[in-house]
């Protein structure tokens, strides 16, 4: 069994602070972590290896610093780690990123055929969830997103059966292998690295693949800024919605406060039964200022 996991190093958004004057992210001191859902993907791959034998390869695209993310995956049980790094990859959006990851998976697959690819459902920083469908589509492999559970997997018969989270419930889907699976937190509880694995990881030297190693020509229009159809044109801090005025109700006497609140609520009318409240969407120009 050969599982490939693609992971991403992200800034820990809970630590991100915004400079209120410049509206830019204050980067200094913000720790980088492996995207949390990607850790679940690594865990699932390692569990498959423990059940069926074989190996786990992790892939990421990013700056040299992303080696730390690969080392963390190694400390959790990954065997092979590959960093796709090249000046030409900078500024990639999800389409250009999926192109490079696709090239990497193709090479991995040529050298040692891949049975399954696992990814996190989406990344903490971008929240897009668009890279795995991009890679799956380019590979021509089925994509199974938001997976809660791998129900059954058979590498001989080459199929997998999963439970997916969908609107209003869950769905059981059967797919041929290889397939691309995106993992949710519900899938498993990631382990802690063992001491020997941490030692191994600390010294681990991932392979570094540049354009040439991936068979990407210098003038390939699909990579980096050039291969990215989307651009971020403007960033601003959202102003919290202004309310016309706040009515304060003294809560020190609970019964009085409750009586006042009950009056307010009955005044608002608990009996009305309309559908969606008639608030109109705020056009970008109104909320954002200069467009």
């Amino acid at each position: 069994m050969h599982a490939v996991v693609s992971i991403k190093q992200v800034p820990d958004t809970s630590e991100v602070r915004i400079d209120p004057r410049t509206n830019t992210m204050i980067r200094s001191g913000v720790p980088s972590i492996v995207n949390p859902e990607d850790v679940h993907a690594v865990e699932e791959a390692v569990r498959l290896k423990e059940r069926f034998g074989g190996k786990v390869t992790v892939v990421t695209m990013g700056p040299t610093q992303a080696i730390n993310a690969l080392r963390e995956a190694v400390s959790l049980g990954a065997d092979v780690a590959i960093l796709c790094a090249d000046r030409g990859f900078a500024g990639a959006d999800t389409l250009a990123t999926s192109y490079v990851i696709w090239k990497a998976i193709q090479r991995v697959d040529r050298e040692d055929p891949v049975d399954i690819m696992l990814c996190g459902r989406q990344a903490l920083d971008g929240d897009t969830g668009q890279v795995p469908p991009g890679v799956a589509t380019r590979l021509g492999w089925p994509q199974l997103t938001s997976v809660l559970k791998i129900d059954e997997i058979d590498f001989e018969e080459r199929f997998v059966r999963v439970h997916r989270l969908v609107e209003g419930g869950r769905e059981i889907v059967r797919s041929t292998l290889p397939a691309v699976i995106t993992c949710t937190r519900e899938l498993n509880a990631p382990r802690y690295a063992t001491f020997p694995n941490m030692v191994r990881a600390a010294r681990f030297q991932p392979q570094i693949w540049d354009k040439a190693a991936l068979g990407i020509a210098d003038d390939d229009p699909n990579i980096g800024l050039r291969g990215s159809p989307t651009i971020v044109s403007k960033v601003w801090a959202p102003a919290p919605r202004q309310r016309s005025g706040t009515t304060n109700i003294d809560g020190s006497d609970p019964d009085r406060a409750a009586a006042e609140l009950a009056e307010v609520l009955s005044g608002l009318g608990l009996t009305r039964s309309t559908h969606v409240s008639p608030v109109t969407a705020v056009p970008a120009s109104a909320a954002g200022g200069e467009l």
Binding site: S14, V173, R243, D250, L261, A262, T274, S277
Partner: protein, 366 residues
């Protein structure tokens, strides 16, 4: 596979791409409300730049969705009816969308940023090689050049960023459910239904849906009129009973902050905010929630916000229309008692919510 040239320097002529499309997400012929929400904003933008707005319906024997799309504002509906499309699966749906886009060349395509919408849009963007903005909460369009501005919260809601797609068409975006209003349905509206073929056989599809298991207690926060939400201040799962009582008394449903969800006190489906649901109820009652920006972005468009918090400096109190500084463990039960008394006296009665939203009834002539 090779992608088309993308040369940033050259000015590309997109005059052959025209119209704004909305992907009509549905399960078993029942449309997701976000489809009609997007037809509303899609139509507004289309009128502004003078182009038609279209719905795209893929499925099997779901012609009624075409009529509904027209009643919600679509000038045209592109419809593929095929048994292979009986249930949503990425491969045939993305294939169908991509072939419609290649043939009819829209300039904008909008999807709900639901699990389903993200699943299909990510594949379609790769098939047609174009840009896809994720999870937009604001949309606008430039009259010159018809450039779509798709804005979204970033870095956990601390910043907003605007995404543009200048060099490729169509410009695509997934958009948050619950942010845009459902327009008034008008069954007298007329429109054109254009039927196309899928061009894919069951044998070509690599996945099968074995079963759909509905969530036993499905919470529909995005369509709720009244939401009673609880946060870390509750201190444990037991205290949520008090909020369910209040929700019962006011005819609402229960929401939660991420802190309460992460602590395992209540399932994720109840979470309001940046990584939960965006809600716009008539009344939002926040109990023991501090009002972190990631929570506020999910509920600040509620008509009336009531907050109960023991800390007079909690940010939620500044966003609230009614701010109560006090102990919710005393105030909430007292409020429930008071509301029940008033109901017995016939002063108030809880909302009768039939669970149906406006989208389900109307039919349009096509």
């Amino acid at each position: 596979m090779t992608a088309p040239e993308m040369a940033p320097e050259t000015v590309v002529d997109f005059s052959d791409h025209r119209g704004i499309w909305v992907y009509v997400q549905h399960r078993g012929g029942e449309a997701a409300p976000v489809a009609w929400q997007l037809l509303g904003i899609g139509r507004e933008m289309a009128q502004q730049i003078g182009v038609p707005v279209a719905g795209v319906v893929l499925g099997h024997q779901v012609r009624h969705l075409c009529d509904q799309a027209i009643s919600y504002g679509a000038d045209t509906v592109y419809y593929i009816d095929d048994p292979v499309l009986e249930r949503y699966r990425t491969q045939p749906y993305a294939h169908g969308m991509a072939s419609l886009i290649r043939k009819h060349k829209p300039e904008v395509v909008l999807y709900g940023s639901t699990i389903h919408g993200r699943d299909v849009a990510g594949a379609v963007a790769t098939l047609v090689r174009t840009g896809l903005a994720a999870d937009a909460t604001q949309l606008s369009i430039e009259e010159a050049g018809h450039l779509l501005h798709a804005s979204r919260p970033d870095f956990g809601g601390k910043l907003m960023s605007t995404i543009l797609c200048k060099r490729n068409r169509p410009q695509m975006a997934t958009c948050r459910p619950g942010v845009f209003s459902v327009p008034e349905a008008d069954s007298s509206r007329t429109g054109k239904v254009i039927k196309e073929k899928l061009g894919l056989k069951e044998g070509d599809v690599l996945t099968q849906v074995v079963e759909f298991i509905p969530e036993s207690h499905h919470v529909d926060l995005s369509n709720a009129e009244i939401i009673v939400s609880g946060g870390r201040g509750l201190g444990g799962p037991k205290a949520f009973d008090m909020l369910f009582d209040l929700a019962d008394a006011v005819g609402g449903v229960v929401g939660a902050s991420r802190a309460a969800v992460m602590a395992g006190w209540i399932p994720y489906q109840h979470q309001v905010g940046q990584t939960g649901q965006t809600v716009r109820p008539r009344i939002y009652i926040a109990c023991g929630i501090s009002g972190a920006i990631q929570h506020l972005v999910g509920m600040q468009d509620s008509d009336v916000i009531i907050a109960i918090n023991s800390d007079a400096d909690a940010p939620i109190l500044k966003t609230a229309d009614y701010a109560i500084v006090g102990d919710m463990f005393e105030i909430v039960p007292a409020l429930v008692r008071k509301l029940r008394e008033m109901r017995l006296e016939g002063v108030v009665s809880p909302t009768v919510d039939d669970g149906m939203s406006a989208d389900e009834e109307e039919q349009a002539s096509a």
